[in-house]
Each structure stands twice: as structure tokens, then as C-alpha cells.
């Protein structure tokens, strides 16, 4: 353990850390520039404390802190704590979740959830298909029934007009 913490962080993590810090700074800068955009006449009359007054204060402070962050992540004595690197499986799970989010309005919550409930365990290495299908079917139906019928939270329906 001690050896692990003494070792330098993987180069990919350092590069990602720097890239993420730069993205955060860039987004902050864009938001800051937007605070000088057009505002309503009423806002202009509010003694200089219009809609962008508070965001501007926050963004100035944020840019100061981000300057310290940039010094820190570009410093040779990089204070990285985590050494976790994303894996292909993680990328696939994120892609599957995005597909699930896209499928919900198209196929309805129940159908999308059954497919997702089957797909995720298979993606993550499970091969006991009987159990996986049964769990996905029972769980998705139970969740759908509970929210749609008991708690009356209307979930997206399928385009087949068959009641779910």
C-alpha cells in the first residue's frame, strides 16, 4: 500500500486531470463572458445588481481558485490522490445507460428497463441468462406497477398503445 502511494500517478490520469481542469476553466470563462450579455431594461435599472451580478461575483472567485488549481495540476509535484483509470467496461456501461435514457421515451419505461436490466449484467460478465431475464422482468414490472399504478407517477409509455 505504501509502495502504491509512493509511486507516481499513471500518466493518463495526470493528462486527464489537466484536461479536465482546462475544460472547467474554459467553461467558467465562457460563463463569465456571458455575464456581459444583453439584459432587460428593468434589470439595467436595478442599480448595477441585475441578473448577472451574483454569477459574476461567483465566477471571479471561481477563476481565482481555478488559477490555483491549474498551478497545482500542472505542477511536477502533482498532488493526485486517485489512481483509478476508466476501463472499457465502464465506457460500455455509460454507453448502455445513454442508450437506456434514449430508449425510455421511444419504447416506454417498462420495455426499456427490461432490456437494460438484461443487458447490463451480460455486459458485466454474467452468463446465467435464466436468472438475469427473470430478475429483469420481475423487477422492471414491479417498479413500473408500483409507480404507475400505486404511486400514480405516470412513466413514459410504449408507442404500441397496450397499456404500458
Amino acid at each position: 500500500m505504501a509502495e502504491e502511494s509512493a509511486a507516481p500517478p499513471p500518466r493518463a490520469t495526470v493528462i486527464t486531470d489537466r484536461a479536465v481542469a482546462l475544460v472547467i476553466v474554459a467553461v467558467t470563462a465562457v460563463f463569465f463572458v456571458l455575464t456581459f450579455g444583453e439584459v432587460s431594461a428593468f434589470a439595467r435599472a436595478s442599480a448595477g445588481r441585475g441578473p448577472y451580478f451574483f454569477p459574476r461575483v461567483v465566477l471571479v472567485l471561481l477563476l481565482i481558485v481555478e488559477t490555483v488549481l491549474l498551478f497545482s495540476v500542472f505542477s511536477p509535484r502533482h498532488p493526485m490522490v486517485s489512481r483509478r483509470l476508466p476501463s472499457l467496461r465502464m465506457g460500455l456501461l455509460i454507453a448502455a445507460t445513454a442508450a437506456y435514457c434514449a430508449l425510455i421515451p421511444l419504447a416506454g419505461f417498462l420495455i426499456a428497463s427490461v432490456i437494460f436490466g438484461i443487458f447490463v449484467p451480460v455486459l458485466l460478465g454474467r452468463r446465467d441468462y435464466g436468472v438475469i431475464v427473470a430478475v429483469a422482468l420481475v423487477y422492471s414490472t414491479a417498479v413500473w406497477w408500483l409507480f404507475e399504478r400505486v404511486f400514480l407517477i405516470i412513466l413514459p409509455a410504449s408507442p404500441f398503445d397496450i397499456g404500458f
Binding site: V58, L62, V65, M90
Partner: protein, 492 residues
């Protein structure tokens, strides 16, 4: 007295009692599963509260909150793998005790100490809540602004030792909160012409994404086929004899007091309380030599303290509307959805609701004891659920939570985006709690700043003429400068 009876009447309904029991059981289950914890537990039950009446939904949330803090200790004792960070200190004494064949006794110590610590915190809540609410009646927007800035700084500043990244996270949260309609002038901010963004970014989908989605994405990195052997999970419950308890009442009281104090401070939480209580127990115990070998003193101190956090953390949340950690931020979000407006007026106008929360907390702690005593063995079986299946199921229920607040598929995408961003930020050691707290406190800080400037004719220096605000500003500066001072002292 009438109000207490009214509150008792509101609780004594089958639905509320059912919610207390179910909430506590779900909380313990979530606590038992390593890596999940209180926030994910609360996020999972959140959609159930949307269409429930006020009291049962609060009971459900309180059950999950208290149950999850306790549940983490079961896995800490049996597998030396704390189910939640709050239970990490418990493993130091609980696991050695289990190794020498006293797992059932360790569970007895832990369950009793957790229950008593939790009940102690209810007492603190009963005494401190109304007092703090009365004090806060003297607050003007200037004090609320100072308090908001102080809470933000605490949470960002003590975040996993990464102050700069914590402050950046807090700033991101504040910026997310400013998207949408400006509350004073009605102008649109950062909507980029999007109709959905004009209503702002909802808190719950961000919480779902940042905590539940990102946790599930990252769990894939630690997936292993290894499951604990069935014989490891065979555990009962044995109550420690009273003569052993009598020797440790001081330890219990001290742990409960530490937990109650730490819980009320923003940005700390049960894990911090447990470690402080454990080191204090180790320092003061007469049985110091037994520490690390399964000494009940350590177990009692850390379990009493981490459960004592639960009630006291609700004090600033309910009395001031300032959540101290992500758990209370989720609770606050759920309360607001339920139409509860935290703050001094809650204690002035809805005292029956406050009493109902007190009584719910007492019942939750008693149910927690029964749950631990009767079901410890059952809960450990949950560890046998294959993780790949569990990840899919948690993602599905979390998606319902994100969707259910506004019934909008846009919120599902918000949760997904927050999940991906959360996973990346967590990989790079950015603390995520400040993002959520920033989103919760952003509107309060902004409104109180603008109202304060109106009160002082735009002179921000007049903010320093108010004593409470000045003290809070000084504390904020102290928190920000402390790491620099500490580094200097260490170098000397």
C-alpha cells in the same frame, strides 16, 4: 402538549408505521452493501415519496437515513469491509472481535450503541432545534448570506483534504443553481435558448446523477467475482451483559456527545465523528491495551457517535434551511418537494410537523434495534446478490427518481450527464458533495446577498457591522487560510 399528541396521532397511522419499518429495513440493506450508503439509499427511495403524504414520506427518509448509518457496521464487523464510510472505524474493533468468534456479541454492542446514540441525538434535536430557530429569528438576509458562505466554505474546505478542488466543485454547484430565471428581475440566465433550461436545473436529477449513477459507473472498476464464503456470513445477535455495559456508559455518553456536536457542523458527517470518537476512546480508555484486538470501548464510542450525527445534522437543516452534508441536502430537497419550508417559520408555524419528526426519529431508532437484533443474519445474505445484476437494478430505480420529480425525460438526461461528469470528477479526486450543497445554497446565498445590499444601500462593508455576520465571515476566512498556516507550522 396538544401539539405532541397531534404529532403522535399523525404518526400512529398504518402507512407511517409501515414507512418507518420499510425505510429502516431498506436503510440497513443499503448500509450493508459496501459502497452504497445513505445518499444512494435516499436517492433510491426518493421517487416513492413524491406522491406520498408529508409525514409518511419523511418517516421513510428518516428510516433510510438512520438505518443506512447503522447497516454499514454489520459488514464492517463480519467482512472487515465497511458498508459505509461511517462504519470504517467500527471495523477496527468489530472485525477482530468477529475473528475470535464473537461476531454476534460485536453486533450486540454495535446495535445497542447505535440505538442509544441515535436516541441521544433526538434529545439534542429536541433541545437545540427550537433554540436555533429562535436565534435565527434575529437573522437578517446579511446573516443568512454570511451563514451560506460559511457553510459552503466548510463543505468545500474540508472535502477529502482537496480544498482547491472542493472550492471548484462548490463554485460549479453555485453556477448550476444560477441557470434559469433570475428570481429578482425575471431575466433568463444561461438558458442558451432552451425551453427546458428556463426552469433551471432541478436538484434531484443532479443528486441522482452525481451520487447514484457515478457510483454505479465506478463500481465496474472494482468488480470481482469474489463473494464471501457462506460460513463467514453466518452471524447472530447477542446482547452484552449489563455489567459490561455499566463500565462503558461514560464511553457511550462521550461518543454520543461528540457525534451530536460534529453532526451539527457543516461539512463533517458521521465518518469524521466516528474517527474522532474512536481516537478519543482510545486515548481515555482504561483498556487501552486491548484496542485493535476487539475492544468494546472502541465499538461503543464510534457507533454511538456516528448514529448521534443523524439527529443533530437535522438541526441546521430544519432550523436554518442550511444542510450540512449531501445526506441532509437530499432530505432538504425531498422536504421542499413535500411543501415543507425549512427555517425558523417551520418551528413557529408547523411545530406539530417538527414534533412528528422527533417522534419518527425515536421510532426509527427503536425499529433499528429490532431490525438489527432479529435480522442481522438475513441482511448479510444480501451480499450474495451478484453485483452486475445489482448495478442494473440500482440504475433503473435511480432513473425513476430523476424522472419522477417533474415527469420530464430532460431530467433523465440531466442525471446521465451529472453521472458521467461525477464519475470523471471522482476519478480525479474532486469532491462531489460541494456541487450539491452549492446547488442547494446558491439561491439562498444569492437572494440574501441582493436583499442585504438593498438593506445597506449597496454598501457591502456594512455587512461587517453586524456581529453574527462578522463572526461567520471571520470563521470563513479562518477555514480558507488554515491549510496555509498549517503548512507553515509543519515546515517549521
Amino acid at each position: 402538549m396538544d401539539l405532541i399528541l397531534l404529532a403522535a396521532g399523525q404518526i400512529a397511522t398504518p402507512l407511517t408505521l409501515f414507512c418507518i419499518v420499510i425505510g429502516t429495513v431498506v436503510g440497513v440493506v443499503v448500509g450493508v452493501l459496501p459502497g452504497l450508503g445513505s445518499v444512494i439509499g435516499l436517492t433510491m427511495v426518493l421517487p416513492f415519496t413524491f406522491s406520498m403524504p408529508q409525514i409518511p414520506s419523511i418517516a421513510l427518509m428518516l428510516g433510510v437515513y438512520c438505518g443506512s448509518v447503522y447497516g454499514g457496521s454489520i459488514t464492517a464487523i463480519i467482512l472487515n469491509t465497511p458498508g459505509t464510510p461511517q462504519a470504517a472505524a467500527t471495523a477496527l474493533e468489530g472485525y477482530p472481535m468477529a475473528r475470535r468468534g464473537d461476531a454476534d456479541l460485536a453486533l450486540g454492542w454495535v446495535t445497542t450503541a447505535s440505538t442509544l446514540g441515535g436516541l441521544f441525538s433526538v434529545l439534542v434535536f429536541i433541545l437545540a432545534g427550537p433554540w436555533l430557530a429562535r436565534l435565527s429569528l434575529q437573522f437578517t438576509p446579511i446573516e443568512y448570506f454570511a451563514l451560506g458562505v460559511f457553510a459552503m466554505t466548510c463543505i468545500a474546505g474540508v472535502s477529502s483534504g482537496q480544498m482547491t478542488k472542493g472550492l471548484v466543485s462548490g463554485g460549479i454547484g453555485l453556477m448550476l443553481a444560477s441557470i434559469g430565471v433570475d428570481p429578482v428581475t425575471g431575466d433568463m440566465r444561461y438558458t442558451f435558448g432552451s425551453f427546458q433550461l428556463s426552469a433551471g436545473i432541478a436538484l434531484i436529477p443532479v443528486i441522482v446523477g452525481v451520487f447514484a449513477y457515478s457510483e454505479m459507473f465506478l463500481r465496474v472498476l472494482d468488480l470481482s467475482g469474489d463473494k464471501p464464503a457462506p460460513e463467514e456470513m453466518r452471524v447472530g445477535f447477542r446482547m452484552p451483559p449489563f455489567k459490561h455495559w455499566r463500565m462503558r456508559l461514560g464511553m457511550l455518553l462521550r461518543g454520543s456527545m461528540i457525534g451530536s456536536f460534529v453532526g451539527a457542523l457543516p461539512g463533517t458527517g458521521a465518518a469524521t465523528a466516528a474517527f474522532i470518537a474512536y481516537s478519543e476512546a482510545r486515548r481515555t480508555s482504561k483498556r487501552q491495551a486491548n484496542f485493535g484486538k476487539g475492544e468494546p470501548d472502541g465499538l461503543v464510542a464510534c457507533e454511538a457517535s456516528n448514529n448521534a450525527v443523524t439527529g443533530s445534522a437535522l438541526v441546521p437543516t430544519l432550523a436554518l434551511g442550511i444542510p450540512g452534508d449531501p445526506v441532509t441536502a437530499v432530505m432538504l430537497g425531498a422536504l421542499v418537494i413535500q411543501g415543507v419550508v425549512p427555517g425558523p417559520q417551520l418551528f413557529a408555524n408547523n411545530l406539530d410537523l417538527v414534533y412528528a419528526i422527533f417522534l419518527c426519529l425515536i421510532l426509527v431508532n427503536l425499529v433499528m434495534f429490532a431490525t438489527g437484533a432479529l435480522g442481522a443474519q438475513l441482511f448479510t445474505r444480501i451480499l450474495r446478490i451478484p453485483e452486475p445484476i445489482l448495478i442494473g437494478l440500482i440504475l433503473i430505480i435511480s432513473t425513476v427518481g430523476a424522472y419522477g420529480v417533474n415527469g420530464s425525460t430532460f431530467d433523465i438526461w440531466v442525471a446521465f450527464a451529472a453521472g458521467v461528469a461525477g464519475a470523471v470528477l471522482r476519478c480525479l479526486s474532486y469532491p462531489l458533495a460541494p456541487i450539491v450543497i452549492g446547488m442547494v445554497l446558491g439561491p439562498t446565498i444569492e437572494m440574501s446577498l441582493r436583499q442585504g445590499l438593498i438593506l445597506t444601500d449597496g454598501n457591502i462593508l456594512e455587512f461587517l457591522a453586524r456581529p453574527i455576520a462578522t463572526v461567520l465571515f471571520l470563521l470563513t476566512v479562518a477555514i480558507l487560510t488554515w491549510p496555509l498556516i498549517r503548512d507553515r507550522l509543519v515546515r517549521r
